[in-house]
Symmetry: C2
């Protein structure tokens, strides 16, 4: 990148996001709502015990199949010894926290950009409780999932605290993963 290109790039980038591209995308979706429809996919293969591996590459969005990824992402689920595994990877409920942390962060930074707020630093800490009686089927009145998930967010940005609080409330209502966790989303499982 030449210095001139770098300066031009910086002018349209806020929080590492291309503001011009974002506003063009929004204009395109307003003209044709079908461009907003995405389908995401994963393939997973059981290895042994609590170990299994996912492959993620293709998806559909913005009116076409995406071909931008030269190779697939691979992620391994595992379990710690106390849950009968050998720490082959983080476990599924921990990956859920990673997904939630990432989605809240990206949604916050995106809408900060839309409001012209420059974010200097952002980090989160998440924790959530699970009663394993649910998973084990020992008490059918116990929900097997997270009881609640708490996120502590640390933000440094050039704007008043009230504006950050407003942005945070907006983020919570508009984050895809947060919404998937907070609201009931149907999961249909079919055996083939």
């Amino acid at each position: 990148m030449t210095q001139q290109q770098a300066v031009a790039r910086k002018a349209t980038h806020i929080n590492g996001l291309d503001a011009q591209a974002a506003f063009e995308t929004i204009a395109a979706i307003k003209a044709d709502k079908s461009l907003a429809r995405f389908q995401f996919r994963a393939r997973n293969r059981w290895i042994s015990g609590g170990e299994n591996r996912s492959t993620i590459r293709d998806f559909y969005g913005a009116g076409r199949e995406d071909t931008s990824r030269a190779s697939a992402f691979e992620f391994t689920n595992g379990e710690p010894p106390v849950l009968l595994g050998n720490n082959e990877g983080a476990n599924p409920v921990e990956f859920l926290l990673h997904a939630l942390a990432g989605c809240v962060t990206t949604t916050f930074v995106l809408h900060a950009m839309a409001r012209g707020i420059e974010v200097r630093a952002l980090s989160t800490e998440l924790e959530g409780e699970i009663d394993m009686q649910g998973l084990l089927g020992l008490d059918e009145s116990v929900s097997p999932g997270y009881e609640q998930i708490r996120i502590r967010m640390h933000v440094e940005a050039d704007c008043p605290g009230e504006e950050l609080d407003d942005l945070l409330a907006y983020t919570q209502r508009h984050s895809p993963v947060c919404s998937t966790v907070c609201r009931p989303v149907p999961v249909v499982i079919e055996r083939r």
Copy 2:
């Protein structure tokens, strides 16, 4: 491992899980329900744009802080170019599919073990739709999360199809991530 140890190990292992350890765990929980309480955690740091990274290591469970992991797991969220990124990693909604695939798989294999069913092979394919008008705040009537997630499961096991269908229905009701997605789970975000 000696041949004798290997034979002894195999005798108590079904589907790669230590059946004896599992039944001992269940007996311990029945005697003291507080042992079933787990708290999982993640820390995440924003890098730039849609890129951020999680660190996962410690958790609380079975009555104590876990110290089994010699080092932390690290995972990077990213976004594809059509969502303003450079494919720095899979994106958060794709990591959610990985978490769901892994949890359904492990829950299935665990309860197959409890029923004495040996699973030879298990793989899943997941897909879910998201309308990005929700994330972008273009239409407040559009939910930002997944509309529905479909899982196709391929299982090879030594038992009749009806038993696998029953086990699959049981899995769906007892998987922690599936439950977190299917039911509303409160997410509390606090700025510090």
